[in-house]
């Protein structure tokens, strides 16, 4: 068997603009407000995604209310979480905030998967098939049409299921909206105050700015955007699973943000598309490679098989995070001056 380049190309392009790319672009917009503009070392961003996801999921599953009310709850929970987390810790030094946020996100995951929460969160099994109301409005649903293909000259470049296309339409529209919002906010006096806090908090305070209040506002705003990303993720999958909100996801968002360039408006989108296109192309290539005559050699010398090929994705992005932070912390498009990495 040879390598099927068609599927590699299709994965490269489809995943580059696919649901993961959209969700992680949006989550990274939130993190960009935290870290990129305000300098908050948020290592628990996945907790905000989980808060949004469980907000919408629990409203439908536990309270038996409509999905649309759930969306409001999904906006409210990340807000509450940001307040609970921010009020005690935002006065502390950056590394303490980092430790607290990663701990809080992990504690949230432990709590929602607790078996005592079976009837509220579905415990480790999670919440399934709760988002039918969203797909009722799907404008792409046509009888007889399973997938939408874009295949110029017979080469499939994009292929999406009808439901995914609907999520993508809504999702990328929201991403565009959040980009616009960030752009406008960061040009405003409020945004300039955030940046001044990032650069020198003492100076900002000396000029009469209430740094603590600004940081809390930024934490809430970025957290809510993360929550929306979490909601879109679980709606697209029709499943809320506690273990998808693993702390490692937070650092994937960090990697994506740093690839794009910290403190630039559009960098989360660029970083997310680059990451998902490259990693999906690469992993698909390796899967194809395992399907060829080389499979025995790969297994003997690299221990590589269909069982563990997906784990390489984490090794690669972890390595990318290390090397980027070391040699090019401003990312592909960023500006080194914008990096809030000084010790305070």
């Amino acid at each position: 068997m040879g390598i099927d380049w068609g599927i590699i190309i299709q994965q490269f392009f489809s995943q580059g603009v696919g649901i993961n790319a959209m969700v992680f672009a949006m989550a990274a917009i939130g993190l960009n407000i935290h870290f990129g503009y305000t300098g908050l070392l948020n290592f628990g961003h996945v907790g905000f995604m989980a808060a949004g996801a469980y907000g919408v999921g629990m409203t439908v599953f536990w309270l038996d209310q409509s999905l649309w009310l759930g969306v409001l709850v999904g906006l409210l929970l990340p807000t509450i979480m940001a307040l609970i987390l921010g009020i005690p810790t935002l006065r502390l030094r950056a590394d303490y905030l980092g430790i607290t946020t990663i701990a809080a996100s992990e504690a949230l995951r432990i709590f929602v998967r607790w078996r005592g929460n079976q009837e509220r969160t579905g415990s480790s099994g999670g919440i399934n098939d709760f988002a039918d109301e969203f797909f009722e409005f799907n404008i792409f649903t046509r009888p007889g049409t399973e997938t939408y293909d874009f295949a110029p000259g017979g080469l499939t470049i994009f292929q999406f299921r009808a439901n995914d296309l609907w999520v993508l339409l809504i999702g990328w529209t929201l991403v565009a909206f959040f980009l616009l919002l960030t752009w406008q906010l960061m040009r405003s006096p409020w945004g300039r105050a955030l940046k001044s806090i990032r650069e020198d908090e003492d100076a900002a305070r000396a000029l009469g700015k209430n740094a603590y209040a600004y940081k809390l506002q930024a934490l809430v705003l970025g957290g809510v955007i993360g929550g929306v990303a979490g909601m879109l993720q679980v709606i697209s999958r029709q499943a809320v699973q506690p273990d998808t909100f693993n702390p490692v996801i937070t650092f994937l968002i960090w990697t994506i943000l740093i690839i794009g360039g910290v403190g630039k408006v559009a960098s989360p989108v660029a970083g997310s598309m680059i990451y998902w296109a490259l990693i999906s192309g690469l992993i698909t290539f390796m899967r194809e490679l395992i399907g060829t005559d080389l499979s025995d050699e790969l297994e003997t010398f690299l221990n590589l098989s269909v069982l563990n090929v997906d784990q390489l994705r984490f090794v690669i992005f972890g390595g990318a995070l290390m090397l980027l932070m070391w040699f090019r912390p401003q990312g592909v498009f960023g500006n080194r001056e914008e990096m809030a990495l000084e010790d305070r």
Binding site: I99, N303, F314, G318, E342, D343
Partner: protein, 460 residues
Amino acid sequence: MWQVTRRAKSTPPPQRVAPPKLLVGIWLIIIALVGLASPALAQDDAGQSVITTLRYEGEDGEDVFVSGAVITVEGVGEGVSDESGMIAVPVPEAGEYAVTIDVATLPDGISLRSADRTMVTALVEDGQDRRILFALQSEAGAAASAAEGSGIGRRLAQLTAEGLKQGLYLAMASIGLSLIYGTTGLVNFAHAEMVTWGGLATYFFNFYGLAGVAGFLAPLPGPFGDGVNLVFAVVLGMIAGGALGFLLDRVLFRTLRRQGVSLIAQMVITIGLSIVMRYLFLYFFGGGPRSFRDFSAQQALQLGPVQLVPKDIIAMSISIGVLLMIGVLLTRTQMGKAMRAVSDNRDLAESSGIDVQRVISTVWIFGAAAAALGGAFFALDQAKWDFGFRILLLIFSAVTLGGLGTAYGALLGALVIGLVINLSTLVIDAELKNMVALLVMVLVLMFRPQGLLGRAERIG
């Protein structure tokens, strides 16, 4: 801008020394080492069995073996225990098997210690026998343990013992993190992976010995050729831990310090390192939990109201010894005093002639070795690719509670955290006990951010 740091003042001006080739080389070596090992991990084609030994404690405390009892491995078949209480049921392939004991086949008066545990899940790996345990007791034993006092007092004692055990292991895992923070100011997120590394390296040596690393040793007898006894394996695992600490400091962190990379950037780099290491463990080691070859299913000893398995008692004693030794080293030896001096005031220490780089290197080696030993002890229960990461939250809570950067603080914090989370299960569900550690941490940060033993300084 981001390069200018507090630390940079005392180091030579930032210069771009470029050892990334060396770094890549070291990683390749590590990967190759693990890679060489991995075929060994899967080599045994001798089949696999579920094994158990049925025994209970006789009147004089001796082991009495039960013959003629029947266990059933779901979907495979039955086994009957022989004269020495042994049952081995071969299973065709790796997987999870439900093993049930037929209580009716036990001799009269012999019962399970917990009557509802008639079924045990055995996770069998390719080519490896899996030992399981059905804890039995005689009528006299049941009466005796009931007389020890049931209810709250007994549970309290048992939980305190468990808490001490976890606290001691946690102290060994935490002390390095605190010392490294004290001397360099770095919060090392990859510390959890050094704990895992210790557990997995011990597992590896326990099964494959030194021959697993260097194949030419294979024909040698005893501790070199085949897998080595767990005691040697733990020592080797500790050495592997120290070696990893030395390499990480020498290759990665010393370079970062020399280049004046800020501490926050270094911290994010340790996060990347942690992810790379963790998923390499998963990649090469697989996702299932594994037990050491020796002492994997021990009968618990009854010490007053408390039940502990002998291996944990020994490991706890060793932990106490090691922690005391670290205390003595820190206060009595020249290197220990230098470490404390560097933690206290690095610039002053350097100007009074202490070789700071050497101190930091030593701290990395000893901190990593202690973490590896702690990891080996945690793995007495089960070794898994991410067990270190699962206790990272506890490690952070322990060092924050005790005071980041203080060695004794980490020790105290770890013991408190161990006790608190175990005792908390009196009130809350055991699944939620790790959340209590977080709560402790947040409370400490709110009211005493320098920790119990830390010195008050501006950290806000």
